[in-house]
């Protein structure tokens, strides 16, 4: 109880409320703008979070995360273009509802659905993450090594169409994580060591600058390589009824529960993400409506049921993805990978140690997650008539703003150290260009981030495990938990590879 009160104290201040409100609004706007993702929003907000107290900073990032996931439904409903892949399944029924003159009901419905999804998954997060974290008590260095391997391999194997590209990017991220000094001998491990020994690179690649470059700057260059998107024309929409009736909500209880379960579960499996969950929830809702004996309207005809199912699921992913992220340090998706990066920049390492030594911060994170969902619902409802206007901001103005915010963000992390800040600018630009060329050739970016985050954990535990085993590399095959993780890693490579081969043959 003391820890809860301490956690509450960490966020019970005006600064947290203000920054989380800003985070929610920024998140909704970023989510609503096609092409801009929740991950990019979190990466761009990281430097501000870095300047704030830990709990407030994490609250700001969670607010951006929840806002961006929910905000993606706005263009999906109004113009049939999802703000990001989280809202793909919302398009069909959402757009049909708009055409029927029910845009207000669809937009309001997504807010209620997102809120239910977010809060429901938060309850699961609060109940299960301490239990999962407790499991890691049985983990020694060998188990932690294979756990990091699982995180890396899963993300690498499911992101992108080509599994080899994912694995290559994961390895590339790890190679970047190995830059700096050897954690056990302090030997410099950077190219041109004589030249770069006095630069910040000697302490390793700056995570924030790398993330900002990979998700912010690379996106600007990527958008530039395509023709500028024409500003979306949103026809004047009559928005009268916003809230779905209580009766309608009662009728949809099966859809809500199944979508909540699917979203939370899929979110908790590393590497899967909301774009899979929304389709599963939509399909599940389809079969529920078919068996409802006319009580529910069929999906695909512009119904609230078709909007509710994916929207409950995509926001349920947020809480689900935080379970492995907080309890194991293994992110559920790219957005939570950046969140873990933000925690690490703040000197907080997720995992059992966090739950054992800093439970007040864990509670503070839970409370900020609750607030993030409340603010998301509040600001989306308040701005239900305003957000459609956001869609008219042209890319020509947006892209320079993202570029400069990326640069300033990378610089600002250094605080008072201008020399480090200038070096970070260079790192961000370099990683931005690297990210652009990789994206252009369809290489996934998320595994690089995972490699960067988990590389250090992997190396330290690998060397510790081998050292404790007296130099025996086979130690990883002698422990049951390790074998389980290794088996899981092999399966997560083999299954998508078999699927890809079958698809190619077809």
């Amino acid at each position: 109880m003391d820890a809860f009160i301490q956690g509450f104290h960490q966020i019970a201040n005006l600064s947290t409320i203000i920054w989380m409100s800003i985070g929610s609004i920024v998140g909704i706007i970023l989510g609503a703008l096609p092409g801009l993702t929740a991950t990019m929003g979190i990466a761009l907000m990281m430097p501000i979070a870095f300047q704030l107290p830990t709990a407030t900073g994490i609250g700001l990032l969670l607010a951006v995360y929840c806002g961006a996931v929910s905000g993606a439904s706005i263009p999906a409903i109004l113009i049939g273009i999802p703000g990001n892949p989280n809202a793909i399944a919302t398009v069909e029924d959402g757009l049909l509802m708009t055409k029927k003159g029910k845009a207000g009901e669809a937009l309001g419905g997504t807010v209620v659905a997102s809120f239910i999804g977010g809060i429901g998954s938060l309850i699961v997060l609060v109940l299960f993450s301490p239990l999962v974290a407790r499991l890691t008590l049985a983990f020694g260095p060998a188990e932690k090594t294979t756990l990091a391997l699982v995180g890396l391999v899963i993300i690498a194997s499911v992101s992108g169409k080509n599994i080899l590209k994912g694995l290559l990017m994961g390895a590339f991220g790890m190679a970047l994580a190995f830059l700096g000094t050897d954690p056990f001998s302090n030997q410099l491990r950077i190219p041109f060591a004589k030249l770069l020994a006095t630069t910040p690179l000697a302490r390793g690649m700056d995570l924030t600058s790398a993330l900002i470059g990979l998700f912010g700057i690379s996106q600007v260059f990527f958008e530039l390589s395509k023709p500028f998107e024409k500003t979306a024309k949103v026809d004047p929409i009559k928005i009268d009824k916003i809230f779905p009736s209580m009766r309608k909500l009662r009728d949809m209880w099966k859809i809500i529960l199944s979508s909540l379960g699917i979203g939370t579960l899929i979110g908790a499996i590393p590497g899967t993400g909301a774009s899979i969950a929304v389709f599963m929830a939509y399909n599940s809702a389809k079969s529920i409506t078919e068996n409802s004996k006319g009580k529910l309207e069929p999906l695909g005809t512009g119904t609230l049921e078709g909007v509710f199912a994916p929207e409950v699921a995509n926001n349920a992913v947020t809480g689900g993805a935080l379970i492995p992220a907080l309890a194991l340090g293994i992110p559920g998706d790219a957005a939570t990978a950046v969140l873990i990066g933000a925690l690490m920049v703040k000197g907080v390492t997720p995992g059992f140690h966090l739950f054992a030594t800093n439970m007040s911060l864990v509670y503070a994170i839970f409370i900020t997650m609750l607030l993030a969902n409340i603010f998301m619902a509040l600001f989306q409802l308040l701005g239900v008539r305003l957000y459609p206007k956001v869609l008219s901001v042209p890319q020509q103005i947006l892209l320079p703003l993202i570029l400069i915010l990326s640069f300033i963000g990378a610089y600002a992390v250094a605080g008072q150290a201008t020399a480090v800040g200038m070096f970070n600018l260079g790192t961000a630009l370099f990683m931005g260009l690297v990210g652009y060329f990789l994206k252009k050739d369809n290489y996934p970016i998320a595994p690089i981030v995972l490699g960067l985050i988990l590389g250090g954990m992997f190396e330290e535990n690998f060397r510790r495990a081998v050292k404790l085993a007296g130099g025996n590399y086979l130690v990883f095959f002698t422990k049951p938990i390790c074998l389980l993780f290794i088996g899981f890693s092999i399966l997560s490579i083999a299954l998508p590879a078999i699927k890809q081969r079958r698809e190619r043959r077809k």
């Binding site: 300047q51 290559l168 390895a171 790890m174 056990f184 390589s225 500028f228 103005i397 400069i404 630009l429």
Partner: protein, 230 residues
């Protein structure tokens, strides 16, 4: 493949170092994992080279010449920003980056005929920015000094209050500028490039000042001053 081969050579050239106090042995050394990664990356790249066929649909959407020019402009301006931010300072480099990119993005191409208008906008936005910045600095310093002397409540001298007050005043001045510039433009007539210069200047000035107030005055991040020393 070439990069992973280079990485392999780099790892070998670094050599291995063992844990401090590893007299009894057992530490695999710092080279094992990077070496494994280099070999792994080489093998995966080789497999990709052999199996990855370019998606024919992806090669259809090549960049047009105007897109290429905008892309190159962005790369060059970004590089110049990184190089010149320290000697010239945050205010000027940020303003110029934003102005140049916004102007040419709105125009849709980098062409010589826009140079005159873009230069006029460039100089005007610099002058207005320096004026706004100077006024903002004056307000900030006056408030801090007054709070230190005790002539105003100390609360008004806190970084967030000073940033807030400065933001309000600067925003009011900016809104006045917005109306004034609109009236002037209405008199001169709005050609395409003049309109672009107007929008770009406003976006650049507002963003530069806003970021300055948030990061420098609220979060006390040391944004480099460069040649703007006041």
């Amino acid at each position: 493949m070439v990069l992973s081969a280079l990485y392999f050579i780099y790892v070998i050239s670094l050599g291995s170092s063992t844990m401090i106090g590893d007299e009894v042995g057992g530490d695999p050394g710092g080279m094992v994992l990077p070496l494994f990664l280099a070999i792994f990356m080489f093998l995966v790249s080789a497999a990709l080279f052999a199996t990855d066929r370019k998606d024919p649909s992806s090669s259809q959407g090549g960049m047009t010449s105007s897109q290429k020019r905008l892309f190159a402009l962005t790369a060059v301006v970004s590089l110049l920003y990184v190089v010149l931010a320290r000697p010239l300072g945050y205010i000027l480099t940020t303003l110029w980056l934003l102005y140049i990119l916004t102007f040419y993005y709105i125009q849709g191409d980098v062409v010589l005929k826009d140079l005159k208008v873009s230069l006029i906008g460039f100089v005007s936005s610099t002058v207005v920015m320096l004026a706004l910045y100077s006024i903002g600095r004056k307000i900030t310093r006056s408030l801090l000094l007054a709070a230190r002397k005790g002539s105003i409540p100390s609360l008004l001298g806190s970084p967030s209050a000073v940033a807030g007050i400065t933001l309000v005043v600067v925003t009011a001045l900016f809104v006045a500028l917005l109306f004034l510039s609109r009236k002037l433009l209405a008199k001169w007539g709005k050609s395409g490039s003049v309109h672009s210069a107007h929008i770009s200047a406003l976006v650049a000035i507002a963003t530069t000042e806003f970021i300055y107030l948030i990061f420098r005055q609220l979060f006390l991040v040391e944004l480099v001053r460069g040649i703007i020393t006041w």
